[in-house]
Symmetry: C2
């Protein structure tokens, strides 16, 4: 076990997490029940409004500045042939985000969401997790801290996404380390590897788990050894959002790995997170179940880039529009339920 | 069996339905596979783009003028105590739609959807289906024709919704008549009836089925006898949309009844329809399965008003934004898959 100062600073954050605001939740629920609809008729939308109220700590939850943050990382393990695409795609995709060419750009335009992309040294891959720890402790802690900057310019809803060729392999390794079971249970097809690539991916996760097996009881060590920079940064972003009472929407298989690490440290630490969607990748549905999260959408996506979180942000915006914009039975003079 | 001229005119429409445009579908699929993402990574969004291309008959599917059409009807069977709300709610809700107070107004604002509300003589309820046919044949055919006007001012995506106190009872009766099985299997809680109200609802459906049992082999007779004006009008809107190559998004339990009637006449007649969501009402999931429709959303809604269809329209807009706005691998100089 490491006892270096950097991780201790991170650990200390878990001791001062803002709690759910019960008064805001109650006020939102009271308003919800006065709106001109049968009670509960907006289903999940009502739960979403309550969630945003609870974690923003506002009786009237508001999303005026939604932000999609994409963290991009580069992975040493990609050299083991675990992805269908070469690592050069990382730089090309960063350029595409800047040029407005990617899927996430179109989704952000559709729902009027802000977009920021964080390049986590994609020119410098992390160490290959089958041969060493992905990151030194100081680097991992610094990357978590860098991720905390995601919300520095202000947002009231943070959608977390990522990009990094090969990064479903570290995510699978993290899940296997946290939840146990054979590697193959956690490994999916990523961007579309063939059978041989899938076998290399399973082997890579098995090798990484074997190499690091004596150091996987501490979730932050799991992150440092088996993860990658974008996963560490997303963990930081989730923590920072919690400190500032910003609700979070997680994207898919890789983004959820960041939440899984935090959840393993303290299950209360991810209570402000919503699952944007259930990914078609690997065992994402099982992971969401472990985290107690029910996905808002289930559209068979497996793209990353925050795409599923951003689509879910459209639903969240609609939920709050209903919550804040609808009239009450009294205001609209609609007759109420009679039994 | 009735052989009056009006229904014959409706029946004739089924003989001249535009077919899927295979060339447009192929062109859209070819473009989809060149976009900068792993093939298939946008999951359902890709299928949605293909669906819109196929039914619009355009290689580049476009939704610039999406429209939510709400049809409002009034039901004689409401006097049997099948709803938790009094029929006066019908007029109050129409006023709320006009004033922008309802849930659907907020959702339309969020996703920039047009909204039209059609008052189908809510001051004049249809006959109580437990005592007579809901509509005369001429009135039913005229209402179907009225529904065809929904798209008269032009739209490229029609979201179909409804409002009408008591109307989950006729919808349940239609499903029971079309698909068989005991009435209770099709009856839900609607706007939230208590156990006694639910029992009255089941009894009403049973009585209606018994009364009309010798006339339920023809789906249009099922519609006329057990339905209501909003359901007939939505059937007309679906047919008119098909004739004009406008894709349709169905809302929930009641809107789907209109599609179920058409599907029973000719299963090909609803192929241009998407299921916006799976409702929490009654046996909606089973109905969608009968129609071969997979819902885009599953958010536990049971409101009507086109709310689920309008939320799904947001997803459809995002799908087309991706399809039309993303760069190709060649345009963006992103390296392609290597295996």
């Amino acid at each position: 076990m490491h006892t270096g100062l950097p991780f201790d600073d991170i650990r200390a954050l878990f001791l001062h997490l803002p709690e759910p605001d019960g008064n805001a939740a109650l006020a939102a629920a009271e308003r919800e029940n006065q709106l001109i609809k049968p009670r509960g008729a907006l289903g999940r939308l009502e739960a979403i409004s309550a969630h945003i109220a609870t974690w923003q700590g506002k009786a009237r939850p508001i999303v005026n500045r939604p932000l999609v943050a994409i963290f991009a990382g580069s992975h040493g393990v990609a050299a083991k042939g675990v992805s269908a695409y070469p690592s050069e795609v990382n730089a090309a995709m960063l350029a595409s985000f800047s040029a407005g060419h990617a899927a996430i750009n179109q989704i952000c335009k559709t729902f009027d969401l802000g977009l920021k992309v964080f390049d986590l040294a994609i020119a410098m891959p992390t160490a290959d997790i089958t041969e060493a720890a992905a990151l030194e402790e100081a680097a991992c802690a610094a990357t978590i801290g860098f991720g905390m900057e995601a919300i520095a310019n202000g947002t009231d809803l943070l959608c977390l996404g990522e990009m990094g060729i090969g990064n479903t392999t570290p995510a699978a390794a993290i899940y296997a380390a946290l939840y146990g079971g054979p590697a193959v249970d956690w490994v999916g097809r990523g961007t579309g590897v063939d059978d041989a690539g899938h076998a290399r991916k399973v082997a890579a996760v098995e090798q990484a788990l074997a190499l690091h097996r004596d150091h996987l009881r501490d979730p932050l060590e799991v992150l440092r050894r088996l993860g990658g920079r974008e996963i560490a940064a997303m963990a930081g972003a989730i923590l920072a959002a919690r400190m500032e009472r910003v609700p979070v929407i997680l994207d898919g298989y890789v983004a959820t790995a960041a939440a899984a690490v935090l959840h393993a440290v303290n299950p209360l630490s991810t209570a402000h997170c919503l699952a944007g969607h259930c990914s078609a990748e690997g065992a994402h549905a099982r992971v969401l179940d472990k985290l107690g999260l029910a996905p808002i959408l289930d559209l068979g996506l497996r793209l990353g880039e925050g795409s599923g979180a951003a689509l879910a942000a459209g639903i969240v915006k609609a939920a709050l529009a209903c919550h804040n914009g609808m009239a009450t039975f009294a205001e609209a003079a609609v007759p109420e339920k009679r039994n």
